[in-house]
């Protein structure tokens, strides 16, 4: 691991000022915030991340889960994944988020990993993690060996000719379906970013994964008030029963009345270069009968633009069945 200066932030202002001197907040940033450390320390050991300054934000007052005046939920940046998953309000009103969190990693990692950290979780693409290999995300312009290489786990939606790395987060998929808003404080003040606009597609700049700029500190995430009477499911398919990244996953928030779907929010995981909300699938379902045939149609719509790489063509059908099955589970209640 490269040497670095370790700074314990005393307050938000100090943390933001400390990070604002960085040239970028994206891949290769010379200043990094650390909270859980489960991604950052891992990548620092691999020399994929080599910050010269590491700012510890664990002692900032960002660890609360509170209801908001509009009936929603405010989740602090450093709330641990396990605490969020087991929070009574999350279990009751945002079950898809609780299920997604508990399907990710292990208890030890969930006890460390934080809400903001998971929003910034990095891809598990093996070429990204191996500095002996080219990787456009890690070293722009060096090439993407995954495209002609080992790509079984990689993305079928949102990829470009420069990068096909999958976003590995489960939490973000649920938050996409719940229409979370990410609150950031930076050198120029604070702003609120809908999760749909937070992660970037790789395009020709795969090293840029989010809209964050130097000094931007995620302070909290808000969820809108739950849709009363909605049913929620997170279904994750993977190579082993537990402690594994998704091959395909689906987060479903659906409301059915009189046999018809009157509200649907759908997002897919394990298949996209970002947490993959599917307005196309939602449009297919809306105002239609909640039937297996319509669920399959929605799944077809969600994967319409999917593009297989040499080893991951199976994920297209797998993701369709995953979504159709998740909808079925939700419909049955």
């Amino acid at each position: 691991m490269k040497t670095f200066e370790f700074i314990r932030a005393a307050d938000l202002k100090g943390a933001i000022e400390g990070a604002a001197r960085a040239k970028t907040a994206q891949q290769g940033a010379d200043v990094r915030f650390v909270a859980g450390g489960t991604t950052l320390i891992d990548l620092m050991k691999l020399n994929v991340e080599t910050p010269a300054h590491v700012i510890d934000i664990n002692r900032l007052p960002l660890d609360k889960v509170e209801t908001t005046p509009d009936g929603g939920l405010r989740i602090g940046a450093t709330v641990r994944n396990s605490d969020l998953a087991h929070h009574p309000i999350v279990k009751q009103d945002y079950a898809v988020l609780s299920e997604a969190l508990l399907s990710g990693a292990s208890t030890q990692l969930r006890n460390m990993a934080t809400t903001a950290g998971n929003l910034l979780q990095r891809t598990r693409c093996m070429y990204f993690r191996e500095t002996a290999m080219p990787c456009n995300k890690r070293k722009p312009g060096s090439g993407c060996p995954a495209i002609a290489g080992s790509n079984r786990m990689l993305a079928i939606l949102g990829a470009s000719e420069h990068c096909i790395a999958t976003n590995p987060s489960d939490m973000c998929v649920a938050m996409a379906a719940l229409e979370a808003t990410i609150h950031v404080q930076g050198p120029k003040g604070s702003r609120a970013i809908p999760i749909a606009g937070f992660h970037l597609l790789p395009g020709d700049t795969p090293q840029r994964e989010t809209v964050l700029e130097p000094g931007d500190l995620i302070t909290h995430v808000t969820l809108p008030a739950p849709i009363s009477g909605s049913r929620q499911v997170y279904l994750k398919l993977r190579d082993r029963a537990s402690y594994e990244f998704a091959l395909a996953s689906a987060a479903v928030v659906i409301k059915i009345a009189g046999g018809n779907v009157i509200n649907a929010r759908i997002a897919l995981g394990g298949v996209g270069t970002k947490p993959w909300r599917s307005p196309a699938a939602e449009a297919v379902l809306l105002s239609q009968p909640a039937t297996p045939a319509n669920f399959r149609k929605a799944a077809e719509a969600a994967l319409r633009d999917a593009k297989a790489q040499s080893e991951n063509g199976f994920k297209i059908e797998l993701a369709k069945r995953c979504l159709a099955h998740a909808l079925q589970m939700a419909a049955k209640g």
Binding site: T3, R8, D42, K45, L109
Partner: protein, 206 residues
């Protein structure tokens, strides 16, 4: 250093030899123990170097004032600086669970955390659970149920198992397996590990 009777430097046993090897090798390979000082190459690399930093970890009920290189993980600190070698390094990337310890009563992968992040916090390692003459009930159950073969993952398994009994869990074998999935056992002692955990759960001893 440490409570470990084998830590006596006049006792040239295997553990002591390995530890001295570890501390000399650390400067080139392990990246971070109390004796590491940044090399000239590091100093000339342009990044600002903090030498060792003072922290106090409360480990197994005892305050430990320490000096560590900022890069030192909690795992390396426990093993190489404090010389408590019951906690094991398996993958060193949060994938195997061998390094599991409790921080403020919760189980974590000590390999993915910097020691500096835990200044003032309460750390419990396998050495803090029981002693050879007075095993913790979970340690005794692992012996009784033959819940290990080579033993390398065992301290991590036991630290997870002890924490698990205080976590939300419906008590079924399936739930125990799910909650133990972060601890890999390459010998495949899983069935007996579940037996040991259920034995302690049913006895209500912790």
């Amino acid at each position: 250093m440490g409570d470990n009777p084998e830590a006596n430097p006049t006792d040239p046993n295997r553990r002591a030899f390995l530890r001295s090897l570890g501390s000399s090798a650390a400067a080139v390979a392990v990246a971070g123990c109390s004796t590491v000082t940044p090399s000239n190459a590091d100093r000339q690399s342009g990044s600002r170097i903090e030498d060792t930093v003072s922290i106090t970890l409360r480990i197994n009920g005892k305050d430990r004032p320490l000096r560590v290189d900022p890069r030192t993980t909690l795992l390396d600190c426990i093993r190489e600086v404090v010389a408590l070698t019951g906690t094991k390094k398996g993958c060193d990337h949060g994938q195997c669970g061998a390094c599991t310890v409790h921080v403020n009563g919760r189980r974590v992968n000590s390999c993915l955390s910097l020691a500096l992040m835990h200044d003032g916090e309460e750390i419990t390692t396998i050495e803090g659970l029981g002693a050879p003459e007075a095993l913790h009930p979970m340690q005794a159950a692992f012996v009784a149920c033959d819940a290990y073969q080579c033993g390398y993952c065992t301290s991590g398994q036991i630290m997870s198992a002890v924490a698990l009994l205080k976590e939300p869990c419906d008590g079924s074998d399936a739930a125990v397996k799910e909650l133990m999935s972060g601890n890999i056992c390459r010998c495949g002692a899983y069935a007996n590990i579940v037996c040991a955990i259920q034995k302690v759960r049913k006895s209500g001893s912790i």
